[in-house]
Symmetry: C5
Subunit: 362 residues, 5 copies
């Protein structure tokens, strides 16, 4: 789940002067894809550009411009944007060094937001993550993603078709819708994990195996990771809401509060799931013990009944010579000797069974 | 316990523009039922209306109007109310998307409260939940419920019969009584869970089975869920009390503080129960181990006594030919051979029993 | 420990209008007992009155009046006091509904305090609790108890005999001494529980049985309950100290701080005991496992030594016909066959014992 | 570790009027020992006095006076000091009632500090504690100890020999050096406990016995106790540093901050040790389980190999009469019957051993 | 991991007057090595000096001077620096007493920072630590290390080659780069530990041995230690950022915030790792139990099948004399006796196997 990788990436950078631009992360794309959407209430324009310079013309227009960049390996492009929009070197560094802790920074002429977009990969049954950086300035939003494919498609549709009020609002509202889409997507992830938990829970008591143990362990790790991605979001969004930046209008705050509520709900659910998963391990252990107990009982019942009987049979298998002495196993010559032994054995078995019944082992 | 469902519902909505009105939740009713109660100290009127428009006439009257809506699937009705009472689109969204985290929002011309009404279903022995939204405005209270049937019947009686002081007070006092009824009802839920805990505790040590394990696990989950419903209530009610809204009069605050105290008491009890339930699992495990120990002791005692005896019997069951050599099992021809073997066996058994007594296994 | 009862009581009330006076709790007394102590530095008067109205004359006197009421089932009496001293309906409700969370409320013309008086019942070895409500007004203190018998006897003696400075001080000092007596009494309870913990700890490792397990579980529950009673006290007393009520004089604050310190000490001890008790369960489990290990070793040693020996004896108990072939068990006819078998067995036993010694099982 | 005693002591007092002076604690000394050290930069005087009145002359001198009192059982002496130096009755009570929670109180004309001086008793391998009360006034420090013997000897030496700057500083610096000596001494205690933990850790995995279990349990209790003594120190010293008392000069604050840092370090270490000790129990349990597993494997291997072999031998020990029918055990008369049985047995053993190897049990 | 040593060191000092300069720690070097780097935007000078006095000339120059001292055992050198730069005695003490808690102190004419530089020793697979003290004054930085070798080599290169902007910035920026290098280095440590965790996790379920248990325990201890080193860093750096010292310029704050973010990320990761490691112990225990269960099943299956069969064989090994009575084991003379016994045994085995299949033990 990218855990170790995140650490590794960062390490490569250690020792370089701060602000050195090196992409840290896997190169996920062949070439960088740049898309521009420019709109206001009446106009709309969408195009894919080859050179980042083609976007710069939109900077001064009063319309809202959303530049989306998929792929971070081409440091030069990022550098050009940074120069044109006057970004702080550390911001550019954070965009390139994937594996950042979600945070929000209010700089003078723009707001920088970095967070995790999660995706549940059905094939590997694992949660995959991608770092998304958002820069909100006056009339523009620039989003940086590691890979093509995101949760923003419906937002693009809404802008194209002027659905909802996004076309009537400013760039801050656009950032809100992007955040909202990312957070809403977490619910989908949680649903998948919830289903995994439920199906594990059913197997847990009835059939505790090594496989279940491994799955619980994996779930636990995913929960730890998810938690690490989600907790800082709370701070991020409440900070955004409370920030006194000019770029965020009063009317957008009520929407941010709504995202905030959703974030709290996600956190609550993650915490509940963690509780459940960590309870599952205890249940597992109890269940194994229970099963072992059952195994032991079977062994004990069989052994306790048959070992004494075998002993009795062993006694009369001894070869003491009856002719040497009248005391040597006279039973062997009794008329009812053999049936009597059977009787003794049946009585012994009966006592044992009664004892086990009383102990509720049977 | 509605856990997974809650997530599922939300997910369906992901991607839609904020404020889109879609009912998310199970349709629990055939048709929406709208009831209006209008009263002041001297007058009282109660009726069930077919069209929501029939309620609107009460908006401007100085009397307190309580509109109760059972069933959320008819989005049109909710939309009409929203338009007439000028609700924010996000509030309408929250009313329709059941599974909200309990919260309170103070908007300019009304206060929005959403929380969970719980019900213990005796048949399934599970806690069921229903989202209740309350909107408090000047002289009116509108309550939205998912289903017919609630904990407010006694409040209606009190209003009808002018019992207590509810008829003399304003709409804020009505909201207080509704909140009070919901919170008081939690005590009933807790009582039921308390009984379940007690009965489990008795079985726990005496008879730890897989069934008990499953019940502990279920209780644990219900506790996690209950906790998630109850904790935010604290914030909700203290926020309500501290809010400087015009709709809440000074005299009502002392009552809200009382509900707050009850909420704290509910939270305390939920936390105590959680502690108890999570302690039960440890007790269970210890109990299982104890029981396994007892089983092992029985096996060990039987095996330790009879295996050596069987060995002795086995010795004298060997067929060494006494005629081939005087060293071959001369015991078989001794006069007291057989009784001597019995004696040896009895002594061995005695030593074992003494050993077990000393070890306190017997 | 009254846990479930507390919930039950409250539930009975659910649905009634707030302020409805119904006694919730067990009726512990035949008839209500009302005692009045009236004093100042020079005068002292103590009497038991039959009618509550007989106390009212003291209200206007400048002397300090302490009215103590044992028994809460006679709602009428409580109502009369409430009317005469002008108590808020919710305060009266709290007095009657036993099982309140300890709290303090500063109303305009009096201060209301509710807390738990604990008692260790030697017979049932359980902690019993009784709700005590104190109302502090100008020159008077009214205390409400569920039952006759309390921890205030020494305070009465001090007032009677003018010991200490209680006779020279006002009603706030009297409330302080009452609180001090209740909190000091907690130390006695803790001592009893401490003794129980110590005696359990000794048995824990040496003799872990089901009975110990049950006792640990009970202790755990009592700790949970005690904690619930004690934690809110901290808030209560620090609130009292910081309150700016006219009824509490500056000089009393240093005494309240002393009670506060004691409360913290009680909480610290409760938390330490909780830690100890929850550690005991782990020790218990380890101890059981240890014991099981010892049992297993005995079984294994016996089985591992004798099963192979029995096999050897079994071999020579086979009835292959030596006459049918020279290969059929020629050993049986050897001169030293039987002693050789014994030798083989002794060597096998020796090897086993050496192996067990090396493994430190013997 | 004095845990229970602390509670007991307090209990004896319950019910007495506040400020009643009774010594609560063990009488550790025959007679009270009073020592006076009086110094300024140029002069120095040290003497042991028989009557407390002999100290009072120093009160008005401008030199710093340190009165040290060993032994608290002579209530009269404490009372005389209290009267002469004008101490609040509750302060005197706290001095006498050993087992106080460490705290600091800023009264008008003096500062009262109470804390625990710990000592590691090599013989009983336990941490012993002694309550130390310090009263800091203008130009004087009075220290109260339960017993002769403390950690202040080096401070006395420094004063005698005018080493360091203690002779040049005021009474507040003296209090600082006393606190510093007590806190520094905690590091010694922690070192001893650290050694105990390390030596236990080595035995833990290699040889988990009941004795180790008891030692872990004792360590756990000592940690709980130590924690209770150390945590309040943090508050105490930071309170002292922030207090605006006239008796503490600005220049002393930097030294107090240093003690504060040490206190935090002690707390950090106590918490780390707690974590380690509580981890040890889990390791212990795992280790026991591991060992049990090993025992079980030996038993299973032996039983699984020999029980089937014994069965085979048992078969050919049956006495079916070959003369009665050709189907009755013809094997017994075969030429290669006996070697064939051995072969079968060897093959069975081989299969078993192969199976165990595959399962990695051998 | 230096844990115990840290305590030991401190203890040696207990009792000495505060500010006494004694080096506490291992002497890691033969002789102290002093290096001076002096630079501004245009000039650069680097030299290794033999006497500390040779550095003092740089104090008054306007260029930034970085004096690095490797080796702390020569108290005289430290004293001379302290005197020349006017350090507080307690600061000198902290420099020499290695094992300090990371902290930052803002004194009037310099800022003192102490923290831990960690190193992962590949040979012992352990984390080693070295205390680094930094003193930031106007135009100078003095760093004290215990040993030669650090994580600052790349910074020296950057200064030498005027890479990045370090040459253009003041001494506060130099301190930032030093802090940044230390914190960035933690990521490397975490990566190593992450790899250890991953490789343990793989072995955990498949092959739980004593060795794994020891490694988990060691990891746990390293986590506890790491946590103790890292948590105070948060406070340190945020304090530095918020400090209003003249030595830290406004422009440096944004860089400090970046280090702060990294510190939070390190803490988050340490906490995640702790969670994982502590989860591993539970998994380990579950895994052992699982394995024991498997062992038990094998034993039970073998015993349950063969013990009854052996009993049957034992029966017909009895020597009852058929001639003494027709009731004495007539089966032995039946025509199909022997095959019938085999049939009975096969049926018994079949039933057992069916039973085990049904129980899913096979």
């Amino acid at each position: 789940m990218g855990k170790k990788k995140q650490i590794k990436r960062h390490y490569k950078k250690a020792g370089l002067p701060p602000g050195t631009l090196v992409h840290i992360g896997e190169r996920k794309l062949e070439s960088v894809r740049i898309t521009v959407i420019d709109y206001d209430e009446s106009s709309f324009q969408e195009k894919q550009v080859a050179n980042i310079e083609d976007c710069f013309e939109f900077k001064t227009t009063p319309t809202v411009t959303w530049i989306n960049i998929d792929g971070l390996h081409d440091v030069e492009i990022i550098e050009k944007i940074g120069k044109h929009y006057d970004f702080h070197p550390l911001v550019l560094e954070d965009i390139l060094h994937t594996g950042q802790r979600p945070k929000f920074e209010d700089l003078d002429n723009y707001i920088y937001i970095v967070l995790m977009m999660l995706r549940f990969d059905d094939q590997s049954q694992a949660v995959l993550s991608e770092q998304v950086s958002l820069v909100l300035g006056r009339n523009y939003v620039i989003s940086f993603q590691e890979d093509v494919g995101d949760v923003f498609e419906q937002i693009r549709d809404r802008i194209r078709n002027a659905k909802g009020k996004v076309r009537r609002m400013g760039s801050d509202y656009l950032v809100y819708t992007l955040l909202d889409a990312i957070v809403d997507n977490y619910f989908g992830i949680l649903e998948k994990l919830g289903e995994k938990i439920e199906s594990l829970e059913e197997e847990l008591v009835s059939n505790p195996t090594d496989r279940i143990l491994k799955q619980i362990h994996n779930l636990k790790r995913e929960m730890i990771y998810l938690r690490k991605s989600v907790w800082p979001l709370r701070e991020l969004i409440s900070g955004l809401e409370r920030s006194e930046s000019d770029f965020i209008q009063e009317t957008t705050n009520v929407y941010l509060r709504d995202v905030y509520d959703h974030t709290i709900q996600v956190i609550d659910t993650v915490e509940s799931y963690r509780d459940m998963v960590s309870g599952m391990l205890d249940i597992y252990l109890s269940s194994i013990s229970n099963r072992m107990n059952a195994v032991m009982k079977v062994l004990t019942i069989i052994a306790t009944i048959f070992i004494p009987l075998t002993f009795v049979a062993g006694i009369y298998g001894m070869n003491f010579n009856p002719e040497a002495s009248p005391w040597n196993m006279p039973e062997l010559n009794w008329r009812w000797g053999y049936p009597a032994v059977w009787l003794v054995m049946l009585i012994m078995t009966g006592i044992m069974i009664y004892y086990f019944k009383k102990k509720k082992w049977l």
